[in-house]
C-alpha cells in the first residue's frame, strides 16, 4: 500500500518541524519597532471584543505554547501591538478585515494551513476566486455556533448570500430539502475545497458524496449504468432543484435516455476512433406507444442491476 511506504518517508522528511515547533512566520508589521505586548493590553480599549473572545473557540490560542502564541491571542492575527498600544492609531496595527483576501487568509493559514480541512484548498474555487476565510468565519464570535454558522438553515443562508442563483433553484418544486432545513449546502459541498468537481464531498474515501444518503445505489452492480460512474448523478439529475419529477434534467424520461442512447453499434472502424457510449435501443421500442415513453417502467433498475444486463430486473 502506498501509505505504508510514502507516509513514513514524509514523517522522516520533516522531523525538526515535527517535534520542535518553528517560530511562526511573523506577520507583516506596520513598523519594525513594534513588539508583542500581550492580549491583556488590548482589554481596556477593546473590552467587548476581549470578553467575547474569552468564550470563543479561538481563546485556545491564549493558552497555546505550540506556536508561541500563549497570552498573545490578539497579536497572533493582528501582529505585534506595542506601537498601536502607544499611539492608539488604527494604522499602527494589522487589521485583517482590511487586507486583500489573500493576505487576510494567510493570517488564518499561519495556524490553519496544515490541517486536514485544507486538503483540496489548492484546487478550491473559493481560494482561486479570492474568497477570504473571513467571508464565512467570524473570528471573534462565540456561542454555540462558534466561528461559523452551524444550524443548517443558517449555513444555507450564508451560502445563498453569494450563490443566489443556486438558491433560486431550491425554490423549484423538486429539490433536495434545504429550504426545509433538513439538509445544508455543506452536506454535499466542502467550502474549503475538494479535488472533486464543484468542491463536492466524498464518501468512504473517494466515492461520490451522494452515497452518504443513498447507500442503496452504491453497488458495485453486476451490470453498471456507465454514466452513473463516469459522469456522476448529475448526468441525469439536477441536484439543486428542478421543475421535473425526480429532479431530472429533462421533462420526459424517454428524451433523457435517447439523447445518449442514439449511437449505432460499435464497428471495427470505431476501434481507432471510439464513439460516444450508448447504443440505440432495439427497433421494437415504438415511441408512439405510451408503454415505451417512460423507459424506467421496464428498465426500472436504471442505476444498475445485479442480475440483468438490460437493467430490467
Amino acid at each position: 500500500m502506498l501509505n505504508n511506504r510514502v507516509l513514513p518517508l514524509l514523517l522522516l522528511c520533516w522531523p525538526a518541524g515535527a517535534q520542535t515547533p518553528a517560530a511562526p512566520a511573523a506577520p507583516a508589521l506596520p513598523s519594525s519597532a513594534a513588539t508583542y505586548v500581550g492580549s491583556e493590553t488590548c482589554q481596556p480599549c477593546h473590552e467587548d471584543i476581549y470578553n467575547a473572545f474569552l468564550k470563543s473557540p479561538h481563546n485556545l490560542i491564549n493558552k497555546e505554547k505550540w506556536r508561541n502564541w500563549a497570552t498573545r491571542a490578539c497579536e497572533s492575527c493582528h501582529g505585534p501591538g506595542s506601537k498601536h498600544a502607544d499611539s492608539a492609531e488604527a494604522s499602527a496595527i494589522i487589521n485583517p478585515a482590511k487586507l486583500a483576501p489573500e493576505e487576510s487568509s494567510r493570517v488564518c493559514l499561519k495556524c490553519h494551513l496544515n490541517q486536514p480541512t485544507h486538503i483540496g484548498r489548492i484546487e478550491s474555487s473559493h481560494a482561486k476566486n479570492e474568497v477570504a476565510c473571513t467571508a464565512c468565519h467570524s473570528v471573534h464570535a462565540h456561542g454555540p455556533n462558534g466561528l461559523v454558522p452551524r444550524k443548517m438553515a443558517a449555513i444555507n443562508e450564508q451560502c445563498a448570500g453569494c450563490h443566489t442563483e443556486i438558491w433560486a433553484q431550491f425554490q423549484r418544486p423538486y429539490k433536495h430539502r434545504l429550504p426545509e432545513g433538513a439538509m445544508s449546502c455543506v452536506d454535499c459541498h466542502n467550502p474549503h475545497g475538494s479535488i472533486f468537481m464543484a468542491n463536492t464531498q466524498a464518501y468512504a474515501a473517494n466515492e461520490t458524496g451522494c452515497l452518504r444518503c443513498h447507500g442503496n445505489l452504491r453497488g458495485p452492480f453486476t451490470f453498471e449504468h456507465a454514466p452513473v460512474r463516469l459522469e456522476g448523478c448529475g448526468a441525469c439529475h439536477e441536484p439543486h432543484g428542478s421543475a421535473n419529477p425526480r429532479m431530472l434534467i429533462r421533462a420526459e424520461v424517454r428524451y433523457l435516455c435517447l439523447e445518449c442512447h442514439a449511437n449505432l453499434p460499435n464497428t471495427a472502424a470505431a476501434v481507432k476512433n471510439p464513439p460516444a457510449l450508448g447504443g440505440v435501443p432495439p427497433a421494437f421500442h415504438d415511441l408512439y406507444s405510451p408503454q415505451f415513453q417512460n423507459c424506467t417502467v421496464c428498465h426500472m433498475k436504471i442505476h444498475g442491476s445485479y442480475v440483468n444486463g438490460e437493467l430490467l430486473r
Partner: protein, 654 residues
C-alpha cells in the same frame, strides 16, 4: 408575465431567501452569559392544514401534515466545573410527525475530546401520476414508480486530544432506508405494476489519526462499510399489466409473484492525506484514496400467470428464476498539488489528479419455465452466465497563475488538460456487447477579481474548453463557462448584488449536433431603511436551451430532442419590528418565494408566508405563521394543488 410583475410589486423588494428568519427569540443563538449554565429555547405549536387539488402531489412536493409539533429545540449547557464537558449544544427541529426530523449534539472538553452526533429522519413520498403511468391516457392510473420511504442517517464523531500534535479520531455512520412502493415486474411483451418493499442499511466505521505540526500535517484513516439491501416484490391477484393487447390471441396476465433480492456488501477504504509548507513560499498537499466495495447478491423469482417467452413465442404458466452474482470495484484516487509564491504578487497553483476505477462482476442466472395445466416442464433450466466490466481511467493536470496587479486587482489565468478512457460491457464476449470511449479536453481559464473599495467588488471567471472526444453525446465538449458577480453597498442601509452565469456547450459531430445554452441572471438586495424594518429580496431569471439529434429506434431516422426551461424565481423577506410594550417588541415578517417557468414543463410554484411573533413575557412569545403552497402544471393540470397551512404556538426561552 403580468402575474409575475404583480407579484414582484406585491413584494416590496425581492428577498434573498425565504428561509431567512426574522431575528426572533427562537432564531437567536442562545449565548451563555455570566453565570447562566443553561440557555435555550423550545418552540411548540400546532399546524392546521387545508389542501385542495391532488393530495398525492402535495405530499410529493411539500408533505407537511396537521397536528401538534415540536418545531424547534435548541439549548446549551455550560458546565462551570468542566467535569464531563465544557459546553454541550443540542439542536432538534421538526419533530412530532413532520417529514424532516433532525437532531444535532455537540459536546467537548478542551484538549480532551470533541464529540458530535447528527441524526436525520427524512420521509420521501413520491406519487406523480404523470411520471410513469403508461395507461394514463386510458384513464387507468396504477401508481407506477411511486414510493413512500424513510431514510435515516446517523453520524457519530469522536475526536480525541484536539489541539495536540497527535489526534486520534473514531467515527461511525449509519444510513438506512425502508419503504414500500409500486415497481414493475418485467416479463417479455408486458410489464406488471406490483407492490414492493425495500430495506437497506449501510454501516460505516472509520478511525484514524491526525498528525499536525507547524510545517506539515498528515492524516491517516482506515475505514470499512457493510451493506444490507433487501428488496421484495409480490403479487397475488390477477394483474393484466401495461399491455392490454392480446398477444397471438392470448391475454397475458400475472397471477402470482414472489421476487426477492438479497444483497450483501462490504468495503474497506484508506485515506492518506498531507499538507506541508516546507518553506514560506511553498504549500504542498496531496492525498491517496483507495476504496474497494464489493457486493454479493442472491436473487429468487417465482411467478405464475399466462406469460410468454417472446424469443420462442412459448406461452407458460409458471417460472422459477434463480440468480447469484458478485461484484468488486477497486477504486484508486491520487492527487498532488502545490502553491508556489515566487514573488510577492504572483501565485502559481499546480495540481495533478488521477482516478482509476475498475468494476468487475460475475454470476449466473438460471430460468425454468413450466406449463402447470399439463404439468410439464417446458424448458430445462436455462443457465446464463453473467459477467460485466466497467473500467475508468481519468487524469487531470491544471496550472493556474494569480497575479495581484495592485492591492485591488487580481488577474487569474490557467490551463487544464483532462484525459481519460472508459470501457464497459460484457466481460465474456468481445464485440458488440462491449463499448469503449475516450475523453480529451483542453481548457483555458481566465478571471478578474476587482475590489475597488470596501463597498464595491466584482469578479469574473471564465473557462473555455475544446474537446477531441467525450464519453457521452451529452457530455461537455466544446464549451464556455462564465460566472460574473458584482457587489455594491449603495448606502449604509442598502447593498446590491448581481450575478450572471452562463454555460454554452456545443458538440457539432455528425449525428449529435448538440447545442446547449444555460443562463442564470440574479439580482439581490438587502435594505434596512430603519432600525425597525429590514427587507431582503432576490430575483433570478434562468433560461435553458438544448437541442440534440438522436435516432428514432424503430426506423433509425434522425430526430431532434428539444428541451427548454425559462424560469423566473424570486424570494423575499420583510421583517418589521412593531411598536412594543414593556420592552417587549412584536415582530411581523412576510415574504416567500415564487417560481414560474415556461418551456418543456411549464410550472408554477408559490410559497408566500406571513409570520407574527408577539412576546408575552421576556421568556415567552406567541408565534403564528401562515403559509400557502400553490402548485400547477399546464400540461398536467390534474397534478396541481393549493395548500393553506396555519401554525401557531409558543416559544419559551431561557
Amino acid at each position: 408575465m403580468k402575474f409575475v410583475l404583480a407579484l414582484l410589486v406585491s413584494f416590496p423588494l425581492l428577498a434573498q431567501q425565504a428561509t431567512q428568519t426574522a431575528p426572533d427569540a427562537s432564531a437567536s443563538s442562545p449565548t451563555p452569559t455570566g453565570s447562566e449554565w443553561f440557555t435555550g429555547s423550545i418552540d411548540l405549536g400546532y399546524r392546521f392544514t387545508s389542501i385542495g387539488g391532488d393530495n398525492d402531489v402535495y405530499r410529493s412536493v411539500v408533505n407537511l401534515g396537521q397536528g401538534p409539533r415540536l418545531l424547534g429545540l435548541d439549548f446549551t449547557i455550560v458546565d462551570p466545573k468542566k467535569r464531563l464537558f465544557d459546553r454541550l449544544n443540542v439542536r432538534a427541529y421538526n419533530w412530532g410527525g413532520d417529514p424532516y426530523n433532525t437532531v444535532h449534539l455537540d459536546a467537548g472538553k478542551q484538549g480532551i475530546y470533541n464529540f458530535n452526533f447528527d441524526y436525520r429522519d427524512l420521509a420521501y413520498f413520491n406519487l406523480l401520476p404523470s411520471f410513469a403511468d403508461p395507461l394514463l391516457g386510458t384513464g387507468v392510473v396504477l401508481d407506477e414508480d411511486s414510493y413512500f420511504a424513510r431514510r435515516r442517517m446517523s453520524d457519530f464523531n469522536l475526536d480525541l486530544l484536539p489541539g495536540h500534535h497527535i489526534m486520534p479520531y473514531l467515527a461511525y455512520g449509519r444510513d438506512s432506508g425502508e419503504g414500500t412502493g409500486i415497481t414493475t415486474f418485467y416479463s417479455d411483451v408486458n410489464q406488471y405494476p406490483i407492490a414492493d418493499q425495500t430495506f437497506d442499511k449501510t454501516d460505516n466505521f472509520r478511525g484514524g489519526v491526525r498528525l499536525e505540526f507547524n510545517r506539515f500535517h498528515v492524516t491517516l484513516e482506515q475505514g470499512g462499510t457493510t451493506l444490507r439491501d433487501d428488496q421484495d416484490a409480490y403479487n397475488s391477484t390477477t394483474n393484466y399489466g401495461n399491455n392490454l393487447q392480446p398477444y397471438f390471441g392470448q391475454t397475458l396476465s400475472l397471477s402470482g409473484l414472489d421476487q426477492a433480492y438479497g444483497i450483501r456488501g462490504s468495503s474497506i477504504y484508506t485515506k492518506a492525506m498531507f499538507t506541508a509548507s516546507p518553506v514560506s513560499w511553498l504549500d504542498v498537499s496531496g492525498q491517496f484514496l483507495y476504496s474497494e466495495p464489493q457486493t454479493n447478491v442472491n436473487y429468487t423469482q417465482y411467478d405464475t400467470g399466462n406469460l410468454v417467452l417472446q424469443s420462442a413465442i412459448l406461452f407458460y404458466t409458471g417460472e422459477q428464476a434463480l440468480g447469484f452474482a458478485a461484484g468488486k470495484q477497486p477504486h484508486t484516487t491520487g492527487n498532488v498539488g502545490f502553491q508556489l509564491r515566487p514573488f510577492k504578487r504572483v501565485r502559481i497553483l499546480e495540481s495533478w489528479m488521477t482516478d482509476r476505477m475498475h468494476t468487475a462482476a460475475a454470476g449466473q442466472f438460471a430460468d425454468t419455465l413450466v406449463q402447470s395445466s399439463a404439468g410439464t416442464l417446458l424448458t430445462d433450466s436455462m443457465v446464463t452466465p453473467l459477467a460485466s466490466l466497467l473500467a475508468l481511467n481519468f487524469n487531470q493536470e491544471q496550472v493556474d497563475v494569480l497575479l495581484d496587479v495592485t492591492h485591488k486587482l487580481t488577474l487569474h489565468g490557467g490551463y487544464r488538460y483532462t484525459w481519460g478512457d472508459a470501457e464497459t460491457g460484457d466481460a465474456l464476449v468481445a464485440g458488440p456487447g462491449q463499448e469503449s470511449s475516450q475523453m480529451r479536453q483542453q481548457t483555458g481559464i481566465g478571471g478578474v477579481n476587482f475590489r475597488a473599495t470596501q463597498k464595491l467588488s466584482a469578479n469574473v471567471d471564465f473557462e473555455g474548453t475544446a474537446s477531441d472526444s467525450a464519453y457521452f453525446r451529452t457530455s461537455l465538449y466544446n464549451y464556455q463557462r462564465m460566472r460574473a458577480r458584482a457587489r455594491y453597498q449603495l448606502t449604509n442601509t442598502l447593498s446590491l448584488q448581481a450575478i450572471l452565469t452562463l454555460l454554452n456547450n456545443q458538440n457539432p459531430l455528425t449525428g449529435i449536433n448538440y447545442s446547449f445554452l444555460s443562463r442564470q441572471n440574479s439580482l439581490s438586495a438587502a435594505w434596512t431603511p430603519s432600525k425597525r424594518i429590514s427587507i431582503l429580496g432576490e430575483y433570478t431569471r434562468s433560461t435553458l436551451y438544448s437541442n440534440i439529434d438522436y435516432l428514432e429506434p424503430e426506423t433509425l431516422g434522425s430526430e431532434t430532442s428539444l428541451y427548454r426551461d425559462n424560469a423566473h424565481s424570486a424570494t423575499s423577506l420583510v421583517d418589521i419590528a412593531l411598536p412594543g410594550y414593556n420592552k417587549l417588541v412584536p415582530r411581523l415578517a412576510f415574504g416567500g418565494s415564487l417560481f414560474i417557468s415556461s418551456g418543456s414543463r411549464p410550472t408554477t410554484f408559490y410559497q408566500p408566508m406571513v409570520r407574527l411573533l408577539v412576546p408575552l413575557h421576556k421568556n415567552i412569545a406567541w408565534k403564528s405563521e401562515y403559509r400557502y403552497y400553490g402548485y400547477g402544471e399546464i400540461f398536467y393540470q390534474y397534478e396541481g394543488f393549493r395548500a393553506h397551512l396555519m401554525q401557531t404556538g409558543l416559544t419559551i426561552s431561557r
